[in-house]
């Protein structure tokens, strides 16, 4: 991994290096987005409950339980899986949404203090990836929902330096995302900086950011809905002075890691499953921090794994009820030609979301509004989500290991040709997809409706 200068002992923030540091913050936020989205889409949020009841009943009868008693217990357990799968999905999506907010907040910061944020082409290009500049480095995979994947999420969002896995006597300069931002906070607090109040930013009050939606809902055992983000947990901030700059950073850090004194991973690298007030990111204690959201999923997953082990079921079978069979770190080139067309289109719209986001920092007023509301919202919520669902209907045999997997969104930056507009290329890519998958024609008008934003 290329070391970031901002983490070197001799690094000093100056007017000349501030832009580099904030850009690094932006790229940290961007790096998390494909990781969380990949795991999110690996989850089947509506498992086949009857299959779980049948399997668990059979396992319990095999252990000697009377049939009626086994069925009743199996129904209870099946409901817990139904709730868990949906809740895990809601929590991970809620974090992904907030990472996009953080990308915008750090971009506002850069736009105000330095200049245009760079958002296009910043998705990690090789996997496993590493958080830009994080020490110690740890591998980050695009992986299905699992305990190791959740541990990676906890490492990303850790509020305290990661415990020493290597047991070396020599101290390793551990860092957290919070410490990175703290360095910028210190600089802002102690220097008189010029804030550009005229350059376009993504600002509150325009409907750009919504804390909750149907995907951050999960239903409990009695099918009562719960939202996992609090409506007041944070919003966009117009960065125009020191106070607003600090407010933007405060939201990023608090949502990610919770309060400063929140516990991180245990010294033995296990997860602390208890809840303390510091695990919330809001004073009303209605929303968990990212770290705690992932802790909740990890602990629940671990509990259920052990419970199913008691029925003689391996983790693989238990996870198979709600985790899709997707490969680790797939790339488009792994797929057969027909699926590649779909994957290219998916990556192109994924990349175009960043093109449009960057476009929002070049245009203000109604043009910015149209790019965001009609472009980014439509792409994120409808087009990308639809393509993710569609590609996962396909299966392929991986040449590397000979195993069959479901195709999955690879979230790679698509290399738009600068000779024509990205929108025209999206329309052409969609036409290619329709030749292979005629059922994808339903998205045609939606691509036509997108704003035309240049690279």
């Amino acid at each position: 991994m290329q070391k970031n200068k901002a983490f070197q002992p001799d690094f000093k923030l100056t007017p000349g290096t501030l832009g580099e540091a904030i850009q690094q913050a932006i790229e940290i936020e961007i790096a998390t987005i494909p990781v969380y989205l990949y795991t999110y889409y690996s989850i089947n949020r509506t498992p086949n409950q009857q299959q779980i009841i049948t399997d668990v009943s059979a396992a319990l009868v095999k252990q000697g339980k009377p049939e009626a008693e086994a069925k009743k217990e199996a129904e209870e357990i099946s409901a817990s899986i139904m709730v868990f799968a949906n809740k895990a999905g809601a929590l991970i999506m809620s974090v992904a949404i907030e990472e996009m907010l953080h990308m915008a907040l750090s971009s506002n910061l850069k736009q105000s203090l330095v200049g245009l944020p760079e958002l296009v082409g910043k998705t990690p290009k090789t996997w496993p990836a590493y958080l830009p500049g994080h020490e110690p480095e740890f591998p980050i995979n695009k992986g299905r929902l699992s305990l190791p994947q959740l541990m990676t999420f906890l490492e990303i969002e850790s509020p305290s330096p990661l415990p020493d896995k290597t047991k070396l006597l020599k101290a390793i300069p551990y860092k957290t995302i919070g410490q990175f931002y703290d360095m910028i906070v210190q600089y802002i607090e102690h220097n008189e900086l010029a804030y550009n109040k005229d350059a376009p930013q993504l600002i509150p009050g325009k409907g750009y950011y919504a804390q909750n939606n149907v995907d951050t809902i999960f239903y409990d055992k009695h099918h009562k809905p719960h939202l996992v983000n609090d409506a007041d947990s944070g919003d966009l901030v117009l960065v125009e002075d020191r106070a607003s700059a600090l407010k933007a950073i405060h939201i990023i850090v608090e949502q990610g890691e919770g309060n400063q004194d929140a516990p991180g991973l245990n010294p033995d690298y296990t997860v602390n499953c208890s809840i303390s007030p510091a695990d919330y990111d809001d004073p009303a204690m209605k929303e968990f921090s990212h770290f705690e959201k992932f802790s909740r999923i990890y602990c629940h997953y671990d509990f259920l794994t052990k419970k199913f082990a008691g029925f003689g079921m391996e983790e693989k079978q238990f996870a198979g009820y709600f985790v899709q069979n997707v490969a680790l770190n797939p790339v488009t080139a792994d797929y057969p030609a027909n699926i590649q067309t779909l994957s290219n289109l998916l990556n192109a719209i994924y990349t175009y979301i960043f093109v449009m986001s960057e476009g929002c920092y070049k245009k203000a007023g109604h043009t910015q509004y149209e790019i965001f509301m009609f472009g980014i919202h439509k792409s994120m919520i409808f087009i990308l989500n639809s393509l993710c669902g569609d590609i996962m209907q396909q299966t392929y045999t991986d040449k590397k290991d000979g195993l069959t997997y479901k195709a999955a969104p690879t979230f790679e930056d698509y290399a738009f040709d600068p000779a024509s507009s990205p929108k025209s290329q999206l329309i052409a890519l969609h036409a290619e997809v329709v030749k292979v998958f005629p059922g994808e024609a339903y998205l045609g008008q939606r691509f036509q409706d997108l704003p035309d934003v240049a690279l």
């Binding site: 409907g207 009695h222 099918h223 509301m373 009609f374 409808f382 639809s386």
Partner: protein, 192 residues
Amino acid sequence: MATIQYDLNADTQGCGGTPVTTNIPLELHVCMGLNACKGHDRFGTNNCAGTGQCATAEAHVCHTLNNCRGQGGCGLYGSAEEQDLPGQNECAWQGSCAVPIQAERFSTLGNNMGRSTWLLARKLFEERMAKAQRNVGEAPFKCGPPQKWLESQKGGFAACGNSGDMVCSFGFNNKEDDGKILCKGDSVLDDE
């Protein structure tokens, strides 16, 4: 005002299907019970304001897919401001959710958070009719069209989102009760 090109073939009638054909320009609205005029529902047969069966606006499944002003549903996506104005968006693609609005749908943000989206749409509609000094009849379903009823119509019903069916049971609740809390005007949300 837009004109829907209706299809006289009765087999295609339904809240999700192609509306019946008429040459009369219709006001486009997003759901059952939100029509301002006689004959302005999807079947063209309703008698008076507020009694129509189905939307005249084009059915669609998600946020940002509405064609024009006042044609967006609401409730599951979008900002608090958008969710406070179901069926009253200012322009194309500014609707926050699918059309039609099933009775079980609730707002995820805004002043109506956790409460019925259809009841809010109906309240806003009745306020508009009061301003216009028009009488409003009862909707065919007093809390909006139940999802199961919409699904039974020709053309079916669909709305986007990944969190599962809004009318469901894991075996520990009566799924027919899902809409009752909303129908009373209460919130379905619990604080966690």
